[in-house]
């Protein structure tokens, strides 16, 4: 009985050196498989499409890109995008800081609800965002009589597109600054105040420097999101060629008109632009923290 049993086990051992090896290296093996799975997934999902865009744009060589980008409409479109994004970033830097400040330092009824609402633009469809503004400022909108008597055009013009981008990029600055402000030690402010600094000096000399890194990241995220905004500016701006057309709207029109190289090149330039922005701020942040 015992003899057959031992014979059986030796037989099994001899028969399967592979399973034995697998048994000994189980931890390493699962690790290797998991790493390959994740790297493969990321390569398929993220890197392949990016590579496809680069190859698509370079289909007719570098000259093809240059000649397709040499179009006054493209310049106008990128100019609009940059201009709108800059205005949005400036407004959100000022008011986003105020909002974050109020959320961290003040207690008032409805604070939790409003704090939750700040995240809404993250999930509300850009189309719906643009449509809301159209209901307010459009031709038959609620504010149409007021705007008409004042002679201001918001819908199908740059002001409306700035408003739409403001809505869509709302959470970034506020969400970056709230944790920084929460971590900030208010004793420093009190010390400054005891030393005779006024409110503005205290903010500018004591509070602001510690907000700087959070602000840089907030600006970057806001800027990147504003550069790529499409749905909201499409609905409120209409995408009139040469007037309310932004970079994304140009890409959309070029694809529709089968100007593939122009569309791919503009998409590549826009993608590179926001990529450099995000990598650049990451680099500045790392350098600053060192």
């Amino acid at each position: 009985m015992s003899a057959t049993n031992s014979a059986h086990t030796t037989l099994a051992k001899v028969q399967s050196p592979l399973t034995d090896w697998v048994d000994r290296n189980k931890g390493k093996l699962t690790g290797g498989i998991l790493i390959m799975l994740v790297v493969g997934y990321v390569a398929f999902l993220i890197l392949t499409p990016i590579a496809a865009l680069v190859f698509g744009a370079f289909e007719k060589g570098f000259g093809g890109i240059l000649s397709s980008l040499n179009d006054p409409d493209i310049f106008r479109a990128f100019w609009n995008t940059l201009w709108i994004s800059l205005v949005v970033v400036i407004i959100h830097t000022i008011f986003g800081t105020l909002v974050a400040w109020v959320f961290v330092r003040h207690r008032f009824p409805g604070r939790d609800l409003i704090n939750g609402l700040v995240d809404m633009p993250f999930a509300v469809s850009p189309v719906v965002a643009g449509y809301m503004l159209l209901l307010l400022f459009g031709r038959n909108g609620m504010l149409a009589p007021v705007l008409q008597s004042l002679g201001i055009q918001v819908a199908f013009a740059l002001p409306g597109m700035v408003l739409a981008t403001l809505f869509v990029t709302m959470p970034f600055m506020i969400r970056e600054l709230i944790p920084v402000l929460e971590a900030f030690d208010t004793r420093q402010e009190r010390a400054a105040a005891t030393l005779g600094a006024n409110a503005w000096q205290t903010f500018w000399r004591v509070t602001f420097p510690s907000l700087r890194w959070g602000m840089i990241y907030g600006v970057t995220l806001t800027f990147a999101r504003a550069l790529g905004e499409f749905g909201a500016v499409f609905v409120i701006g209409g995408g009139v060629q040469g007037r309310t057309e932004t970079a994304t709207l140009f890409i959309f029109r070029a694809l529709d008109g089968r100007q593939h190289i122009a569309a791919y090149s503009a998409a590549l330039v826009l993608g590179l632009f926001s990529l450099i922005l995000v990598l650049g701020s990451d680099w500045i942040r790392r350098k600053g923290h060192r």
Binding site: V124, L255, A267, S274
Partner: protein, 288 residues
Amino acid sequence: MNSQTTITSTSKKQSTPLPWGQWSIRSIALSYLAVLLIIPLLVILQDGFREGLAEFWRQVTLPIAWHALQLTLWTAAVMTVINTIMGTLTAFVLVRYRFPGKTILNGIIDLPLAIPTLVTGVMLVILFGPQEALGSWLKEQFDFSVIFAPPGIILALLFLTFPFVVRSVQPVLMELDRAQERAAATLGAEGWTIFRRIILPPLTLPVITGALLSFARAIGEFGSIVIVAGNIPFRSLTAAVYVLGEVESENRLGASAVSIVMVAIAFSLLMFADYLRKRSKSSKRETI
């Protein structure tokens, strides 16, 4: 406590207390939020319900609108399942293993946040478009189309929500105490048992939060989907693209009704995610 300290500090600064300064900051901040956020949300509610609840419901259940909402929800759900599994796995590999190129992989995770979603759509069309090599091969060999079909929508959504689960799980996994795992291993537990019984339970909340955020983000996605899926009713028309069509054909009631449904879904998901986050924070405090 906090507001008290600010008030005392302001009164120390100058002889006259300055509550009006704090009040003006608060009112500026709140009116900024009201103008940009709350008024637009209220306007759309008012517009969708202006003909009453029955008419609102009729607009939502119109066959094309209903199908668009269903398509949006099920593609988002499929994406969320895949993204939750692969996102958790990616976070696990990034935290637990060392391998060449790990820093690069960690950087690539955030790329979708930097790339405009419309550009994402363009990328997928170049890869899988019916005139492109890969797209036409898939069509001929397997009769499988990605572009102008639900798989394209799911791929686009996977691309742009990839960071959410990873970045929600990663920090929690980093803080996890490994002594418990070693104890379990000493007691004879196998790798998978340890993962399921020791590692997974504290990850549940961040995984669910990340999944909810991806789902909420996917419901409203427009830029990539309009490129990848187009607007074929009953086939590839999602809710966001449907709203655009109704706005353009001036069917205000239909646009507002479907918009309200989307906003309501997004709002309840975000509130739930917020509640979970608060709960995980307070439970952490209890254990500490």
